[in-house]
């Protein structure tokens, strides 16, 4: 899934970012600070922003991408406002968590590990949230939903929409 980074909508941040780049570009080793600032400002590393870094710091885009994928703190997908984690621990799995996960995916039109284009929701999976007796369990942000059924999914989401 592609996330169209809206340069216009982010105009202020982009301007701020460019100002930051022109300040640091005379320093040796400006790439890491640049990436860190970008992650901070945009909450992920959009392609467009990496291209700006490439142009301003005169570093090939491939090298920037190589560096960015090396460090685990950088992300290429914006995190949604609401993080949904479906527990896929054994108990939940046995109780049909996979179907629940699929229902979330269907409902939001994204896959696990992705974020909706309005940046509202991200879906992830969890490895045992330690609530096996209430399986299947779903966690949204820090709220726990026990004994989730497929038909509950829409209703659960509505509260966050």
């Amino acid at each position: 899934m592609e996330y169209k980074f809206d340069l216009d909508k982010n105009e202020i941040s982009v301007k701020e970012f460019k100002a930051f780049l022109s300040e640091i570009k005379k320093n040796n080793g400006a790439l890491m600070p640049a990436l860190q600032r970008a992650q901070e400002l945009f909450n992920y590393l959009p392609k467009e922003v990496l291209k700006i870094i490439s142009d301003e710091l005169n570093i090939p885009l491939a090298e920037i991408y190589g560096v960015a994928t090396f460090y685990s703190q950088f992300s290429f997908i914006p995190k949604g406002e609401n993080q949904i984690n479906v527990c896929l621990g054994t108990a939940c799995y046995v109780k049909g968590a996979q179907a629940i996960l699929e229902e979330f995916e269907k409902e939001l039109g994204i896959k696990q590990g992705e974020t909706t284009s309005d940046l509202k929701f991200s879906i992830g999976q969890a490895r045992c949230l330690g609530d096996c007796s209430k399986a299947p369990v779903v966690m949204i942000n820090s709220d726990i939903f026990p004994l989730v059924k497929k038909k509950d999914v829409k209703k659960i989401l509505d509260d966050y929409r």
Binding site: K47, P60, L61, A62, E63, Y65, G66
Partner: protein
């Protein structure tokens, strides 16, 4: 130049003190295996195949990243070294498709060569292997991550020698591959298709998209000069059944092992069906095939005619900056010595 004396595999040699063990061994005619080493590049130290035992060191040392020292005693083929190399090769094979039978690289693959030399086989195991990733977007070559040993030669050739920087390592650890920005494919990167990465790849990970099927041992190599610009890059034409099927750069030459997209990949014109195969004469606006004898006859007729009617300066010749010295020499000789005119020029100006 300061020199030092050292012993490698009981052979005593004296070499420049700035050399590394791997360079000294090469001078001594001792081959140390290596997968990520290229004398044109900085030491990378990733493959660990060049490990040797150095007396006085408890640990194994990599020959590529160890400088020679006075009195150093190096052993490149002890049991310990050989076992370690076998283990490293085994680890590579564990994460490499067992498809040498159909791999185009077979016969010129360093991994295969070393596996053979050290007697290491593929084994079955239940562990993870690298996820499939293929970049076939470039018209001339293909990258197959599963055959990649991550020696980084392609990345370093691209960034340090070609200085394009179209590819780099992507991800970390076991998930590392060689990729383009956002894995959008070579064709969407700043790749200039020079293929210098392909020439450097020791395995079948980066391979030309060949129209012809050929095995490394079936081709004869003919060293010649590339015909696409004035740099004069030295190349080996790979020839199978009287057909040029590939090109590889020569390292010890003006081009230092580099080529451009034309030199590396534009060889199909040689055996192209459109090639002119016979002299053609235009008669009534239509070209007809004629023999060489007939062609020469016509030329003689024309020359005699104009020589008599118009004199030597009615002849003119355009020689070619694409032909050899010998041909250019003969061409001007033809005009000067035989046709008696200096109306001769070539396209130096274009």
């Amino acid at each position: 130049m300061k020199t030092v004396k050292l012993t490698i595999d009981n052979k005593e040699i004296e070499v420049d003190s700035s050399l590394t063990v791997i360079q000294a061994a090469e001078l001594a005619g001792i081959d140390i295996p290596k997968l990520c080493y290229d004398e044109r590049l900085d030491i990378f130290g990733a493959c660990r195949m060049c490990i040797v035992e150095i007396e006085g060191n408890r640990k194994l040392q990599t020959a590529c990243s160890t400088k020679v020292r006075e009195g150093m005693v190096v052993h490149t083929k002890t049991d310990r070294v050989i076992e370690a190399r076998k283990d490293i090769l085994g680890l590579l094979l564990d994460n490499h498709p067992n498809d040498c039978l159909i791999c185009e690289k077979a016969g010129s693959c360093l991994l295969q060569d070393y596996a053979y030399e050290y007697g290491v086989k593929f084994r079955t195991h239940s562990g993870k292997t690298r996820d499939p990733y293929i970049d076939d977007t470039n018209p001339f070559y293909i990258y197959d991550a599963q055959k990649c040993i991550l020696c980084g030669l392609c990345v370093r050739v691209c960034s340090r020698l070609q200085v394009t920087g179209a590819i780099d390592f992507v991800n970390r650890g076991f998930d590392t591959i060689i990729g383009t920005p956002f894995n959008d494919g070579l064709i969407n990167s700043n790749c200039v298709s020079c293929g210098n990465c392909v020439s450097a790849c020791p395995t079948g990970a980066l391979m030309p998209k060949s129209k012809e099927k050929f095995r490394a041992w079936e081709v004869k190599k003919v060293k010649t000069t590339c015909a696409f610009c004035g740099v004069g890059c030295q190349i080996n034409l790979l020839v199978k059944d009287d057909k040029v099927v590939g090109v590889e750069p020569v390292k010890d030459a003006v081009n230092e092992g580099l080529l451009c997209v034309k030199g590396k990949f534009s060889f199909n014109f040689i055996n192209h069906p459109d090639r002119l195969n016979t002299p053609l004469l235009k008669e009534d606006g239509v070209f007809k095939e004629i023999s060489w004898d007939r062609a020469y006859e016509i030329i003689k007729e024309k020359v005699d005619k104009y020589m008599e009617e118009n004199g030597p300066d009615s002849f003119a010749g355009l020689s070619s900056a694409r032909c050899t010295n010998e041909e250019n020499y003969l061409f001007q000789k033809l005009f000067r010595a035989v046709l008696k005119t200096n109306n001769i020029d070539h396209c130096a100006r274009l």
